[in-house]
Protein backbone atom coordinates (compact mmCIF):
# COMPACT_ATOMS: atom_id res chain seq x y z
CA UNK A 1 0.00 0.00 0.00
CA UNK A 2 1.43 3.34 -0.96
CA UNK A 3 1.22 6.77 0.51
CA UNK A 4 -0.60 9.11 -1.89
CA UNK A 5 -0.17 12.79 -1.36
CA UNK A 6 -3.53 14.08 -2.44
CA UNK A 7 -4.30 17.78 -2.21
CA UNK A 8 -6.62 18.91 0.55
CA UNK A 9 -10.03 20.21 -0.53
CA UNK A 10 -11.76 23.17 1.12
CA UNK A 11 -15.51 22.67 1.44
CA UNK A 12 -18.48 24.79 2.54
CA UNK A 13 -21.98 23.81 3.59
CA UNK A 14 -24.94 26.08 2.90
CA UNK A 15 -28.56 26.13 4.00
CA UNK A 16 -31.60 26.45 1.75
CA UNK A 17 -31.03 30.20 1.47
CA UNK A 18 -27.36 29.80 0.49
CA UNK A 19 -26.10 31.07 3.84
CA UNK A 20 -22.81 29.42 4.74
CA UNK A 21 -23.25 27.26 7.85
CA UNK A 22 -19.86 25.52 7.86
CA UNK A 23 -16.41 25.58 6.26
CA UNK A 24 -13.82 22.83 6.61
CA UNK A 25 -11.01 20.88 4.99
CA UNK A 26 -11.26 17.37 3.52
CA UNK A 27 -8.72 16.38 6.19
CA UNK A 28 -11.51 16.65 8.75
CA UNK A 29 -14.58 15.60 6.78
CA UNK A 30 -15.52 11.93 6.74
CA UNK A 31 -18.25 12.44 4.16
CA UNK A 32 -18.27 15.38 1.74
CA UNK A 33 -21.74 14.71 0.30
CA UNK A 34 -23.83 17.82 0.79
CA UNK A 35 -20.71 20.01 0.86
CA UNK A 36 -19.49 22.30 -1.94
CA UNK A 37 -15.80 22.34 -2.87
CA UNK A 38 -14.43 25.85 -3.16
CA UNK A 39 -10.68 25.29 -3.34
CA UNK A 40 -7.96 22.67 -3.36
CA UNK A 41 -4.24 22.53 -2.72
CA UNK A 42 -1.31 21.44 -0.60
CA UNK A 43 -0.24 23.14 2.57
CA UNK A 44 -1.58 24.60 5.78
CA UNK A 45 -4.06 26.99 4.06
CA UNK A 46 -5.99 24.03 2.62
CA UNK A 47 -5.31 21.51 5.40
CA UNK A 48 -6.42 23.88 8.15
CA UNK A 49 -8.95 25.87 6.17
CA UNK A 50 -11.28 26.96 8.96
CA UNK A 51 -9.29 30.04 9.93
CA UNK A 52 -8.04 30.92 6.46
CA UNK A 53 -11.04 31.62 4.25
CA UNK A 54 -13.62 33.76 6.04
CA UNK A 55 -12.16 37.06 7.33
CA UNK A 56 -14.72 37.49 10.12
CA UNK A 57 -16.44 34.89 12.31
CA UNK A 58 -19.08 32.77 10.60
CA UNK A 59 -21.82 34.16 12.86
CA UNK A 60 -22.23 37.50 14.64
CA UNK A 61 -22.72 37.75 18.39
CA UNK A 62 -26.46 37.12 17.94
CA UNK A 63 -25.80 33.83 16.15
CA UNK A 64 -26.82 35.20 12.71
CA UNK A 65 -24.89 33.74 9.76
CA UNK A 66 -22.61 36.30 8.17
CA UNK A 67 -21.66 34.77 4.80
CA UNK A 68 -23.41 33.30 1.80
CA UNK A 69 -22.41 31.52 -1.40
CA UNK A 70 -24.23 32.25 -4.64
CA UNK A 71 -23.75 32.34 -8.43
CA UNK A 72 -21.76 35.38 -9.49
CA UNK A 73 -24.40 36.23 -12.09
CA UNK A 74 -26.98 36.83 -9.33
CA UNK A 75 -24.84 39.35 -7.41
CA UNK A 76 -22.84 41.31 -10.02
CA UNK A 77 -22.50 44.41 -7.87
CA UNK A 78 -21.41 42.68 -4.66
CA UNK A 79 -17.74 42.12 -3.84
CA UNK A 80 -16.76 38.44 -4.09
CA UNK A 81 -14.48 37.21 -1.30
CA UNK A 82 -13.55 33.99 -3.03
CA UNK A 83 -14.60 32.63 -6.43
CA UNK A 84 -15.03 28.97 -7.30
CA UNK A 85 -16.77 26.78 -9.84
CA UNK A 86 -19.80 24.75 -8.79
CA UNK A 87 -21.16 22.33 -11.40
CA UNK A 88 -19.76 24.41 -14.24
CA UNK A 89 -21.19 27.69 -12.96
CA UNK A 90 -19.07 30.42 -11.41
CA UNK A 91 -20.00 30.99 -7.77
CA UNK A 92 -18.54 33.19 -5.08
CA UNK A 93 -18.50 33.64 -1.31
CA UNK A 94 -20.03 36.96 -0.24
CA UNK A 95 -20.47 38.76 3.04
CA UNK A 96 -24.14 39.49 3.78
CA UNK A 97 -25.26 43.06 4.44
CA UNK A 98 -26.29 44.24 7.90
CA UNK A 99 -29.91 44.55 6.68
CA UNK A 100 -29.96 40.94 5.51
CA UNK A 101 -28.55 39.77 8.82
CA UNK A 102 -30.97 41.93 10.86
CA UNK A 103 -33.88 40.45 8.93
CA UNK A 104 -32.89 37.02 10.27
CA UNK A 105 -32.87 38.21 13.87
CA UNK A 106 -35.89 37.77 16.16
CA UNK A 107 -35.55 39.99 19.25
CA UNK A 108 -36.02 38.15 22.52
CA UNK A 109 -39.41 38.25 24.26
CA UNK A 110 -39.27 39.96 27.68
CA UNK A 111 -38.93 37.24 30.26
CA UNK A 112 -40.80 37.78 33.56
CA UNK A 113 -38.50 38.59 36.44
CA UNK A 114 -38.53 35.42 38.51
CA UNK A 115 -36.21 36.67 41.23
CA UNK A 116 -37.43 37.06 44.82
CA UNK A 117 -37.06 40.85 44.60
CA UNK A 118 -39.16 40.92 41.43
CA UNK A 119 -41.83 38.72 42.98
CA UNK A 120 -41.93 40.85 46.14
CA UNK A 121 -42.45 43.98 44.06
CA UNK A 122 -45.15 42.31 42.03
CA UNK A 123 -46.96 41.12 45.17
CA UNK A 124 -46.79 44.60 46.70
CA UNK A 125 -48.18 46.12 43.50
CA UNK A 126 -50.96 43.53 43.39
CA UNK A 127 -51.82 44.22 47.06
CA UNK A 128 -51.98 47.93 46.33
CA UNK A 129 -54.24 47.57 43.32
CA UNK A 130 -56.36 44.99 45.18
CA UNK A 131 -56.82 47.40 48.06
CA UNK A 132 -57.84 50.14 45.68
CA UNK A 133 -60.33 47.85 43.94
CA UNK A 134 -61.75 46.73 47.27
CA UNK A 135 -62.20 50.33 48.32
CA UNK A 136 -63.91 51.17 45.05
CA UNK A 137 -66.20 48.17 45.40
CA UNK A 138 -67.08 49.17 48.96
CA UNK A 139 -68.01 52.62 47.76
CA UNK A 140 -70.17 51.18 45.03
CA UNK A 141 -71.90 48.71 47.26
CA UNK A 142 -72.23 50.95 50.28
CA UNK A 143 -74.82 53.64 50.60
CA UNK A 144 -77.61 54.52 52.85
CA UNK A 145 -81.06 53.36 52.25
CA UNK A 146 -83.37 56.29 52.22
CA UNK A 147 -86.16 55.73 54.57
Amino acid sequence: MGFEYKPYGVYIKTDTQNRITSINSSAFLHDVSGWMKIDEGYGDRYHHAQGNYLPKPKMDERGILRYMAAPVAEWPEREALHRFTNKGVEWAVYERTQEEMDADYTPPVAVPDGSMEGLTKEVAALRESNAQLQEALDLLLSGEVDE
Binding site: M1, F3, Y5, T21, N24, S25, S26, A27, F28, L29, H30, Y42, G43, D44, H47, H48, A49, Q50, G51, P57, K58, M59, E61, R62, G63, T106, P108, V109, V111, G114
Partner: protein, 296 residues
Protein backbone atom coordinates in the same frame (compact mmCIF):
# COMPACT_ATOMS: atom_id res chain seq x y z
CA UNK B 1 63.07 3.38 25.44
CA UNK B 2 59.79 1.47 24.73
CA UNK B 3 56.70 3.51 23.83
CA UNK B 4 54.30 3.94 26.74
CA UNK B 5 50.58 4.67 26.49
CA UNK B 6 48.04 6.62 28.50
CA UNK B 7 45.78 4.38 30.63
CA UNK B 8 42.32 5.37 29.30
CA UNK B 9 42.54 6.28 25.62
CA UNK B 10 45.89 4.50 25.06
CA UNK B 11 47.48 7.52 23.47
CA UNK B 12 51.21 6.95 22.63
CA UNK B 13 53.49 9.02 24.83
CA UNK B 14 56.59 10.64 23.42
CA UNK B 15 59.88 9.38 24.91
CA UNK B 16 61.30 12.45 26.72
CA UNK B 17 64.87 11.28 26.09
CA UNK B 18 64.36 10.37 22.45
CA UNK B 19 64.21 12.47 19.27
CA UNK B 20 61.04 14.44 18.40
CA UNK B 21 58.66 11.99 16.67
CA UNK B 22 55.91 13.70 14.62
CA UNK B 23 54.37 10.35 13.65
CA UNK B 24 53.57 9.54 17.25
CA UNK B 25 52.06 13.00 17.78
CA UNK B 26 49.74 12.60 14.77
CA UNK B 27 48.82 9.08 15.83
CA UNK B 28 47.94 10.51 19.22
CA UNK B 29 45.62 13.12 17.72
CA UNK B 30 43.84 10.49 15.61
CA UNK B 31 43.26 8.41 18.71
CA UNK B 32 42.00 11.44 20.64
CA UNK B 33 39.51 12.15 17.85
CA UNK B 34 38.08 8.65 17.78
CA UNK B 35 38.25 8.21 21.52
CA UNK B 36 36.37 11.39 22.31
CA UNK B 37 33.76 10.63 19.65
CA UNK B 38 33.19 7.25 21.28
CA UNK B 39 33.19 8.66 24.78
CA UNK B 40 30.77 11.50 24.04
CA UNK B 41 28.64 9.93 21.35
CA UNK B 42 24.93 10.46 21.88
CA UNK B 43 25.41 12.97 24.69
CA UNK B 44 25.00 16.16 22.63
CA UNK B 45 23.21 14.96 19.53
CA UNK B 46 19.83 16.40 18.57
CA UNK B 47 17.17 13.91 17.50
CA UNK B 48 14.92 15.70 15.01
CA UNK B 49 12.07 13.21 15.37
CA UNK B 50 9.27 13.91 17.85
CA UNK B 51 7.63 11.22 19.99
CA UNK B 52 10.18 8.65 18.87
CA UNK B 53 10.32 6.51 22.03
CA UNK B 54 8.00 3.64 21.10
CA UNK B 55 7.74 2.12 24.56
CA UNK B 56 4.18 2.26 25.91
CA UNK B 57 4.76 4.45 28.97
CA UNK B 58 6.75 7.01 26.99
CA UNK B 59 4.78 7.04 23.73
CA UNK B 60 2.30 9.92 23.50
CA UNK B 61 -1.08 9.26 21.85
CA UNK B 62 -3.54 11.95 22.88
CA UNK B 63 -6.27 10.64 20.56
CA UNK B 64 -5.59 7.11 21.76
CA UNK B 65 -3.36 4.56 20.02
CA UNK B 66 -4.30 4.46 16.32
CA UNK B 67 -6.76 7.30 17.00
CA UNK B 68 -8.05 9.90 14.56
CA UNK B 69 -7.10 13.52 14.11
CA UNK B 70 -9.94 14.53 11.84
CA UNK B 71 -10.07 11.78 9.21
CA UNK B 72 -6.38 10.81 9.45
CA UNK B 73 -5.31 7.89 11.61
CA UNK B 74 -2.33 8.38 13.90
CA UNK B 75 -0.48 5.57 15.69
CA UNK B 76 0.37 8.23 18.25
CA UNK B 77 1.04 11.95 18.10
CA UNK B 78 2.99 13.02 14.99
CA UNK B 79 3.04 9.52 13.41
CA UNK B 80 0.52 9.12 10.58
CA UNK B 81 -0.64 5.56 9.98
CA UNK B 82 -2.23 4.79 6.65
CA UNK B 83 -3.77 1.41 7.12
CA UNK B 84 -3.19 -1.45 9.54
CA UNK B 85 -2.93 -0.55 13.21
CA UNK B 86 0.30 -0.68 15.18
CA UNK B 87 0.44 -2.52 18.51
CA UNK B 88 2.33 -0.90 21.36
CA UNK B 89 3.88 -2.88 24.23
CA UNK B 90 5.96 -1.89 27.26
CA UNK B 91 9.21 -2.45 25.37
CA UNK B 92 8.51 -1.71 21.70
CA UNK B 93 5.91 -1.03 19.01
CA UNK B 94 5.12 -3.45 16.21
CA UNK B 95 4.33 -1.36 13.15
CA UNK B 96 1.28 -2.48 11.13
CA UNK B 97 1.47 -0.67 7.81
CA UNK B 98 4.20 1.97 7.39
CA UNK B 99 4.02 5.08 9.56
CA UNK B 100 5.25 8.54 8.71
CA UNK B 101 6.27 11.73 10.49
CA UNK B 102 6.44 15.06 8.68
CA UNK B 103 8.58 18.04 9.63
CA UNK B 104 9.97 21.26 8.26
CA UNK B 105 13.63 21.71 7.30
CA UNK B 106 15.47 24.68 5.84
CA UNK B 107 17.11 24.18 2.45
CA UNK B 108 20.54 24.13 4.10
CA UNK B 109 19.50 21.43 6.60
CA UNK B 110 17.88 19.29 3.93
CA UNK B 111 21.08 19.36 1.88
CA UNK B 112 23.23 18.29 4.82
CA UNK B 113 23.98 14.66 5.59
CA UNK B 114 21.78 13.07 8.24
CA UNK B 115 21.67 9.64 9.83
CA UNK B 116 18.30 7.93 10.23
CA UNK B 117 18.37 5.14 12.82
CA UNK B 118 15.97 2.48 14.03
CA UNK B 119 16.75 0.92 17.40
CA UNK B 120 15.02 -2.43 17.10
CA UNK B 121 13.28 -4.42 19.82
CA UNK B 122 15.90 -7.18 19.55
CA UNK B 123 18.73 -4.73 20.32
CA UNK B 124 20.06 -4.30 16.78
CA UNK B 125 20.33 -0.95 14.99
CA UNK B 126 19.42 -0.23 11.40
CA UNK B 127 20.77 3.05 10.05
CA UNK B 128 21.19 4.95 6.79
CA UNK B 129 23.13 8.08 5.92
CA UNK B 130 22.14 10.62 3.30
CA UNK B 131 20.59 14.00 2.50
CA UNK B 132 16.84 14.43 3.02
CA UNK B 133 16.61 16.67 -0.07
CA UNK B 134 17.57 13.76 -2.31
CA UNK B 135 16.01 10.97 -0.22
CA UNK B 136 17.87 8.16 1.55
CA UNK B 137 17.27 4.94 3.43
CA UNK B 138 15.10 1.93 2.64
CA UNK B 139 11.32 1.73 2.50
CA UNK B 140 11.53 -1.54 4.42
CA UNK B 141 13.44 0.02 7.35
CA UNK B 142 13.54 3.79 7.65
CA UNK B 143 13.34 6.21 4.75
CA UNK B 144 13.65 9.99 4.60
CA UNK B 145 12.62 12.18 1.67
CA UNK B 146 10.92 15.39 0.63
CA UNK B 147 7.11 15.75 0.72
CA UNK B 148 6.92 19.24 -0.78
CA UNK B 149 10.09 21.16 -1.59
CA UNK B 150 8.24 24.47 -2.00
CA UNK B 151 6.72 24.07 1.48
CA UNK B 152 10.10 22.83 2.82
CA UNK B 153 8.29 19.80 4.19
CA UNK B 154 10.03 16.43 4.62
CA UNK B 155 9.13 13.06 6.06
CA UNK B 156 10.65 10.09 7.82
CA UNK B 157 8.85 6.81 7.17
CA UNK B 158 9.24 3.59 9.15
CA UNK B 159 8.45 0.46 7.14
CA UNK B 160 5.61 -1.84 8.21
CA UNK B 161 6.00 -5.13 10.02
CA UNK B 162 8.96 -4.05 12.18
CA UNK B 163 9.21 -4.11 15.97
CA UNK B 164 10.83 -0.82 16.90
CA UNK B 165 11.96 0.50 20.27
CA UNK B 166 13.23 3.93 19.25
CA UNK B 167 13.78 5.97 16.09
CA UNK B 168 16.05 8.93 15.46
CA UNK B 169 17.15 11.36 12.78
CA UNK B 170 20.53 12.88 13.64
CA UNK B 171 22.29 15.66 11.74
CA UNK B 172 25.68 14.40 10.60
CA UNK B 173 27.04 11.17 9.13
CA UNK B 174 27.73 8.40 11.64
CA UNK B 175 29.32 5.00 11.26
CA UNK B 176 28.65 1.76 13.06
CA UNK B 177 31.41 2.69 15.53
CA UNK B 178 30.27 6.21 16.27
CA UNK B 179 26.47 5.78 16.04
CA UNK B 180 24.91 7.52 19.07
CA UNK B 181 22.88 5.62 21.61
CA UNK B 182 19.24 6.73 21.83
CA UNK B 183 18.82 9.72 24.12
CA UNK B 184 15.23 10.06 25.41
CA UNK B 185 14.19 13.71 25.44
CA UNK B 186 12.04 13.13 28.50
CA UNK B 187 8.25 12.95 28.69
CA UNK B 188 7.81 16.68 29.42
CA UNK B 189 9.79 17.77 26.35
CA UNK B 190 8.08 15.22 24.11
CA UNK B 191 4.61 16.23 25.32
CA UNK B 192 5.37 19.94 24.84
CA UNK B 193 6.42 19.22 21.24
CA UNK B 194 3.38 17.04 20.58
CA UNK B 195 1.02 19.70 21.96
CA UNK B 196 2.15 22.04 19.19
CA UNK B 197 0.62 19.66 16.67
CA UNK B 198 -2.42 18.22 18.40
CA UNK B 199 -4.47 18.76 21.54
CA UNK B 200 -7.61 17.08 22.81
CA UNK B 201 -10.22 18.74 25.00
CA UNK B 202 -11.83 15.71 26.64
CA UNK B 203 -15.55 15.03 26.42
CA UNK B 204 -17.69 16.64 29.16
CA UNK B 205 -15.09 19.30 29.96
CA UNK B 206 -16.87 22.22 31.64
CA UNK B 207 -16.25 25.20 29.38
CA UNK B 208 -17.31 28.50 30.99
CA UNK B 209 -18.94 31.21 28.91
CA UNK B 210 -21.72 33.80 28.72
CA UNK B 211 -25.03 34.15 26.90
CA UNK B 212 -25.09 36.90 24.27
CA UNK B 213 -28.79 36.78 23.52
CA UNK B 214 -31.73 34.43 24.00
CA UNK B 215 -30.25 32.08 21.41
CA UNK B 216 -26.51 32.64 21.61
CA UNK B 217 -23.82 31.38 24.00
CA UNK B 218 -20.11 32.09 23.68
CA UNK B 219 -17.09 30.55 25.41
CA UNK B 220 -13.35 30.99 25.16
CA UNK B 221 -10.95 28.20 26.06
CA UNK B 222 -7.25 28.71 26.60
CA UNK B 223 -4.84 26.17 25.13
CA UNK B 224 -1.06 25.72 25.15
CA UNK B 225 0.22 27.63 22.08
CA UNK B 226 0.13 25.46 18.97
CA UNK B 227 2.16 25.58 15.76
CA UNK B 228 -0.62 27.51 13.96
CA UNK B 229 -4.26 28.24 14.70
CA UNK B 230 -5.63 24.68 14.79
CA UNK B 231 -8.53 23.10 12.97
CA UNK B 232 -11.32 21.97 15.28
CA UNK B 233 -12.87 18.55 14.84
CA UNK B 234 -16.00 17.63 16.82
CA UNK B 235 -18.08 14.53 16.07
CA UNK B 236 -21.50 15.70 14.93
CA UNK B 237 -24.98 14.43 15.65
CA UNK B 238 -24.57 14.64 19.41
CA UNK B 239 -26.41 16.69 21.99
CA UNK B 240 -24.69 19.51 23.81
CA UNK B 241 -25.52 20.71 27.31
CA UNK B 242 -25.63 24.31 28.44
CA UNK B 243 -26.40 25.36 32.01
CA UNK B 244 -26.75 29.03 32.90
CA UNK B 245 -28.39 28.97 36.29
CA UNK B 246 -31.68 30.02 34.68
CA UNK B 247 -31.64 27.50 31.90
CA UNK B 248 -30.41 23.99 31.59
CA UNK B 249 -30.78 22.00 28.44
CA UNK B 250 -29.35 19.17 26.50
CA UNK B 251 -30.18 19.75 22.88
CA UNK B 252 -29.32 18.65 19.37
CA UNK B 253 -30.92 21.74 17.86
CA UNK B 254 -27.94 24.05 17.66
CA UNK B 255 -25.28 25.44 15.34
CA UNK B 256 -21.73 25.53 16.62
CA UNK B 257 -19.00 27.76 15.30
CA UNK B 258 -15.42 28.01 16.43
CA UNK B 259 -12.71 30.52 15.83
CA UNK B 260 -9.15 29.73 16.78
CA UNK B 261 -5.85 31.35 17.24
CA UNK B 262 -2.77 29.40 18.29
CA UNK B 263 -3.49 29.95 22.01
CA UNK B 264 -7.27 30.06 22.29
CA UNK B 265 -10.41 28.68 20.78
CA UNK B 266 -13.74 30.49 20.77
CA UNK B 267 -16.92 28.39 20.74
CA UNK B 268 -20.24 29.99 19.81
CA UNK B 269 -23.48 28.09 20.15
CA UNK B 270 -26.63 29.33 18.42
CA UNK B 271 -29.83 27.57 19.47
CA UNK B 272 -32.63 27.20 16.94
CA UNK B 273 -35.14 28.39 19.56
CA UNK B 274 -34.50 31.08 22.17
CA UNK B 275 -34.29 29.95 25.78
CA UNK B 276 -31.47 31.90 27.42
CA UNK B 277 -31.57 35.07 29.46
CA UNK B 278 -29.02 37.42 27.94
CA UNK B 279 -25.74 38.25 29.67
CA UNK B 280 -25.77 35.35 32.11
CA UNK B 281 -22.64 33.27 32.85
CA UNK B 282 -22.98 29.63 32.03
CA UNK B 283 -21.25 26.37 31.26
CA UNK B 284 -21.08 24.30 28.10
CA UNK B 285 -20.28 20.62 27.87
CA UNK B 286 -19.92 18.50 24.75
CA UNK B 287 -20.39 14.73 24.87
CA UNK B 288 -17.41 14.05 22.59
CA UNK B 289 -13.74 15.01 22.52
CA UNK B 290 -12.81 18.25 20.78
CA UNK B 291 -9.76 17.47 18.62
CA UNK B 292 -7.54 20.46 17.82
CA UNK B 293 -5.17 19.71 14.94
CA UNK B 294 -2.25 21.73 13.64
CA UNK B 295 -0.69 18.60 12.13
CA UNK B 296 1.58 18.85 9.11
Amino acid sequence: MATTYTPLLELPKHDPTGPFDITKINEGFDLIDTGMAKAYRGKFVINKLTNSDFRKQYFIAQAGLNGLHGTTKYVGDCWISWDADATVTDEYTTIGSAIEQRFYMTDAEANTEHTAVLYMADGTKKFHVGKPASGFGLQSTIYCNVTDAAEKKYYARIGGGQSVKHAALFPGAYTADTLPEYQPKGYAAELAECLRYCQIIPALTHIPGVTNSDTSFGAKYQIAPMRIAPSVSIASGKSISIYTGDYSATTEKYTLQYATNPSQITLSVALTAGSFVAYKPGMLTLPVDIVLSADL
